[in-house]
Symmetry: C2
Subunit: 202 residues, 2 copies
């Protein structure tokens, strides 16, 4: 197997973050190919469907972040073996893609239009989704099989984004305010030894 | 295992169609719970995240169509065993969700705004996606492992929608015109004995 290459924006977050983390936690060497946002117009000319992240492996360039995350999760031992547990893992990951797409759909708006769209998004989708996630967690430290899986890595990147303050009109207190148990989970997860180790260098 | 229940609009297509087909082809009994579009406002009150399709199984209600499709595909023997092939299968399925979300994003528009949005969608996303699918097929009868998988069922439902004439400003000749090999694949796929058998009753 050739050394896999992950291509994505030069940011510690977003759709590539669970992939990078899974490679790192699984102890699998990979090329972390990062590019500045300004280069996206150029990069997308050579990626399938003009999308990132991509995984380049064995001469193929593969798109679709959840597909890649699950695959790398399998390589890294961070994916459920049981098919029903895999269903629950994929359900969480797909739900994050859903809300991510909705957030990205508000990019490009500004002023009052942005404020209105973001507040509606927060109330209609983001908060209900946080509450749904919290209900799925039901007090555990991990979403699936009481162990770290790619579902946790995907959730962590999403919660990190929501709490970053980068999303105007999405208060970075929303998680703590509406879903305190999910917030506690998030704090604990970031103290996972391998995750702490990863972020010492990123 | 209790008899699984699939809840979705009463339509032979959309996000539940690959799930229903996978159950049928796999010879697994399930409850095909269909409701008229007019009831969606009521149905969504009792589905997680207000979404359909859902799969109800062993007392749990699960959302996210690709997660469910892959799971039922595994039960039905329509999912790759090899992890890398599963990645390629998921890549195709996720790409269909991507374009589906973009099409759904144009619902609610009308008149000139709908026309402009649909024509842009067709040129910027739908046709490039069709061409990408055709390249992935590379002349085979099936997308993955030279056998029927859920990737084919997902693609079939999507192509059926695009060709239905229900999507105003998306010409139902687009597939044949831009991707003749994909169109041939589509015609052959609908003649698969189990698929033909299913549609004799639907």
């Amino acid at each position: 197997m050739s050394k896999p290459k992950v291509t994505y924006f030069d940011v510690n977050g977003g759709r590539a973050e669970p992939i990078r983390l899974a490679f790192f936690i699984g102890g699998i060497e990979f090329e972390d190919d990062r590019f500045p946002y300004a280069d996206f117009a150029e990069v997308k000319k050579r990626t399938p469907l003009g999308q990132v992240p991509t995984l380049e492996m064995d001469g193929q360039i593969i798109t679709q972040s959840n597909a890649i995350t699950s695959y790398v999760g399998k390589l890294a031992g961070l994916y459920p073996n049981d098919d029903f547990q895999a269903l629950l893992c994929e359900e969480i990951m797909c739900s994050i893609e859903d809300v991510t797409t909705r957030i990205v759909g508000t990019f490009g708006l500004d002023g009052e239009a942005l404020k209105t769209a973001r507040e509606k998004l927060l109330n209609d989708y983001l908060i209900p989704h946080l509450k749904w996630l919290e209900s799925k967690l039901s007090g555990n430290d991990y979403f699936i099989e009481s162990r770290l899986t790619v579902a946790d890595l995907k959730v962590m990147a999403h919660l990190g984004w929501m709490q970053s303050g980068m999303l105007e009109h999405i208060p970075n207190t929303a998680i703590a305010q509406h879903t305190p148990a999910l917030n506690t989970y998030f704090s604990k997860l970031r103290q996972h030894p391998k995750i702490t180790e990863y972020y010492q260098n990123h």
